[in-house]
């Protein structure tokens, strides 16, 4: 497949693109392009309509790029094109992380590169890198499911405190 650089203004976003990109994610993509380069070309149809890469185009604009790499996909029917736009986004999020491997990889690079640009949020990074191994708790850490704890309330009429979970303890 041939990669062709195209002027960014020639590319036409798909009006019915169902995938959304918020400002924070565009900033993440821009940071990634700046650090690693534009390594994932925009997929376009014969009319320069964007098939995949709306977020990358928005990030390129944010970075002030005038040209972006593109790959022409002219073998898709209209229906296939529509389906691929969805599939390209959906299939990618079906994969999962091997947390142990991820932790090892992040640990290897964390001193040389800012992990913030990888798309993980701070809490996620804390969790992954801490490589938590929890010790066992005790029975005192658990709720008692076979007991109803008394719930003391004051009677609005006489002020007497009684267990609301056992209404027989207070009658007028």
């Amino acid at each position: 497949m041939e990669v062709t650089n195209k002027h960014i203004d020639l590319l036409i976003p798909y009006a019915r693109n169902a995938r959304t990109h918020d400002d924070a994610q565009i900033a993440q993509i821009a940071g990634s392009i700046k650090e690693f380069g534009f390594n994932n070309p925009i997929l376009i149809d014969k009319d320069n309509g964007i098939i995949a890469g709306h977020g990358r185009v928005m990030a390129a604009r944010k970075l002030g790029l005038t040209e972006v790499p593109t790959i022409l996909l002219d073998h898709l029917s209209e229906t296939q094109r529509k389906a691929y736009i969805l599939a390209d986004n959906r299939i990618a999020i079906n994969s999962a992380w091997d947390n142990e491997m991820l932790s090892l990889e992040l640990s290897d690079i964390k001193d040389d590169i800012s992990l913030a640009m990888l798309g993980f949020n701070v809490d996620e990074l804390d969790n992954i890198l801490s490589n938590k191994n929890f010790d066992a708790g005790t029975i005192d850490d658990q709720g008692k499911l076979d007991e109803i704890s008394p719930k003391y309330v004051a009677c609005p009429d006489c002020g007497h405190e009684f267990n609301a979970n056992d209404k027989t303890t207070h009658t007028h």
């Binding site: 969790n127 938590k132 191994n133 929890f134 658990q142």
Partner: protein, 226 residues
């Protein structure tokens, strides 16, 4: 190459461990609130997840089975990371562990979320009783966001009455209900509610498709798809 069978250890888990497991390894990304019993699992001393039991969404969880609030609980989460021991085995040991400390419990109820594509394969593999689908609960759509009915009503309280503009009430998805009796008396009682296990959504779709009018696939074609 055969993988070495790890030593599995089941014990109480701390709230911190349960929260971590649910946030990182469960599709819901949350640990329910309220009274919980968290049973943890360790393979060769490495924490691999939790099985969490709770009181359930409302006080009447056990009512259809003549169980009081203290006799019935809900299995609310199984949150596991990569592990070798079958999850069905972990779950059943966790249930025994729970029962050993909560003698009054007679019945565990659990639900499989149809909307998430779950049919309860883990419960079927461990012989739970299938008691049919739940009724669809009300859900709310407000400001473009979908809210679980109870959570929405609880968070808004009486303010709910002032939100009628732009508030849409829809019927949420049903769930499959499974029951695990913990003694023979309750087993006899709930066995009467037993229904045929639901199929995987994919299997159900194939079955529906084969019931449509048209050419019946020949055997060789069916076999070649296996």
């Amino acid at each position: 190459m055969q993988m070495t069978k790890p030593h599995i250890h089941i014990d109480w888990a701390t709230h911190e461990a349960a929260k971590y497991a649910c946030l990182n390894w469960h599709y819901s990304k949350c640990l329910p609130v309220g009274k919980l019993v968290k049973v943890g699992a360790w393979e060769d001393d490495k924490f691999i997840g939790v099985v969490v039991f709770g009181r359930g969404a409302n006080k009447s969880l056990g009512e259809p089975y003549d169980c009081s609030q203290t006799e019935c609980c809900e299995l609310v989460r199984i949150a596991m990371t990569n592990h070798i021991t079958p999850v069905s085995q972990i779950m059943m040991i966790a249930i025994k562990f729970l029962k050993s400390a909560h003698k009054e419990l007679q019945l565990i109820v659990s639900f499989a979320d149809i909307e998430k594509g779950h049919h309860g394969g883990i419960y079927q593999a461990t012989n739970w009783i299938y008691a049919g689908k739940t009724n669809a609960a009300d859900e709310y759509i407000y400001n473009g966001k979908r809210w679980h009915g109870r959570a929405f009503r609880k968070s808004l309280g009486s303010h709910l009455n002032y939100l009628d503009k732009g508030l849409q009430i829809i019927k949420g998805a049903q769930k499959h209900r499974y029951l695990m009796p913990l003694n023979d008396t309750i087993k006899i009682k709930v066995s009467k509610l037993s229904q045929q296990y639901p199929k995987r959504i994919k299997e159900q779709a194939l079955e529906n498709h084969s019931n449509l009018e048209g050419a019946t696939p020949i055997n060789t074609l069916q076999l070649s798809e296996l």
